[in-house]
């Protein structure tokens, strides 16, 4: 079983904490989905920080701070250091963004920041693409988990490059991987888990659904169904039909 820096998660669902209609709906989404990780961020002090933190702590889940919105390694490193102090965890979801429209990771900044943070004792969850060369470099730099994107953050497009993701999964069979970003429907989560990914991380698809609580539950069920299916060793697809009802003993009419 692949663990996240030694942590075995109870469920393969990581849920964001942003964009919900209310804190009560967010709390209910966490409760019904049994998400095992909550992502959080740091922003300029608006006097609400402690109250928000108290809500999150009440969920009893692992907390994964992010460096969302950072466009340089330096910015991301400083944000990670601040997050470690505030959230009291070595975990960091490392985002170094390279492009404002796609929110695509900047691979060069990501690698530099991963190297610096891993050397400083952080347990880095790099938000990356399906690029295998970059994946290998991130692992060399000290990351022990990878978080390839499904599609651009908030797009809801699902798994944009199934071939690339499948190849990435196959290339690093021992590395825990989370599909992070771009999921829109529970079927996307099931698909990712059936492909052998270890967890999915989503936010917008739940928080911006008409009924976030129902959608959280749907994603939870889908992710768990996909994980169960992967473990059950799915049949291989074939081009021609093969009857499932026995031919032998059929009446002669």
């Amino acid at each position: 079983m692949r663990t996240f820096y030694g942590v075995m998660l109870d469920t393969p669902l990581m849920l964001g904490t942003a964009l919900y209609p209310s804190p009560a709906i967010m709390a209910e989404a966490f409760r019904v989905s049994r998400a095992s990780v909550a992502t959080v961020s740091l922003r300029r002090e608006g006097r609400q920080g402690q109250a928000f933190w108290d809500i999150i702590r009440g969920f009893g889940v692992h907390v994964l701070p992010n460096t969302a919105g950072c466009y340089s390694a330096r910015e991301a490193i400083t944000t990670a250091q601040m997050a470690r102090e505030v959230f009291e965890t070595n975990w960091i979801k490392l985002e170094v963004i390279g492009h404002a429209d796609t929110l695509q990771p900047d691979p060069f900044g990501l690698l530099a920041a991963t190297e610096a943070l891993a050397a400083d004792g952080f347990e880095v969850f790099p938000y990356t693409t399906e690029d295998q060369v970059l994946a290998a470099r991130l692992l060399e730099a000290g990351a022990q988990v990878l978080m390839p994107w499904g599609a651009p953050i908030g797009s809801g497009l699902g798994l944009n490059n199934r071939y690339g993701l499948k190849a990435l999964r196959a290339a690093f069979p021992d590395v825990p991987m989370v599909i992070d970003a771009g999921l829109g429907l529970p079927s996307h989560a099931a698909d990712a888990m059936e492909m052998g990914f270890d967890a999915v991380l989503l936010n917008t698809a739940v928080a911006q659904a008409g009924d976030p609580v129902a959608m959280a539950r749907a994603f939870s069920m889908a992710a768990q169904a996909g994980a169960l299916a992967h473990g059950a060793d799915p049949m291989a697809p074939r081009d021609m039909a093969a009857p499932s009802t026995p031919v032998l003993g059929k009446a002669w009419l």
């Binding site: 964001g16 904490t17 942003a18 964009l19 919900y20 992502t39 959080v40 961020s41 740091l42 922003r43 300029r44 002090e45 608006g46 006097r47 609400q48 920080g49 402690q50 928000f52 933190w53 999150i56 701070p65 992010n66 969302a68 330096r74 910015e75 400083t78 944000t79 250091q81 601040m82 997050a83 102090e85 505030v86 959230f87 953050i153 908030g154 936010n203 917008t204």
Partner: protein
């Protein structure tokens, strides 16, 4: 002296990061600080001196994806 706190110009009498936070009413808050882009750990705030025009960032827990 005049410093920038979270992008806003502020006049403070404090000469250290710790004193500035106290002056801003944030001494007990769950926050992290950076001065001119460099992280200032909690334990170092008392010894980190401010100079005119410094940029102090004070960040707190917030929703995130």
């Amino acid at each position: 002296m005049r410093i920038e706190v979270n992008g806003q110009a502020r006049e403070v009498t404090a000469t250290t990061v710790a004193a500035a936070l106290a002056e801003l009413g944030l001494a007990a808050a769950r926050i992290a600080t950076a001065l001119n882009g460099t992280f200032v750990p909690k334990a170092a705030r008392g010894d980190t001196h401010l100079t005119e025009g410094d940029r102090l960032e004070v960040l707190a827990p917030m929703q995130g994806g």
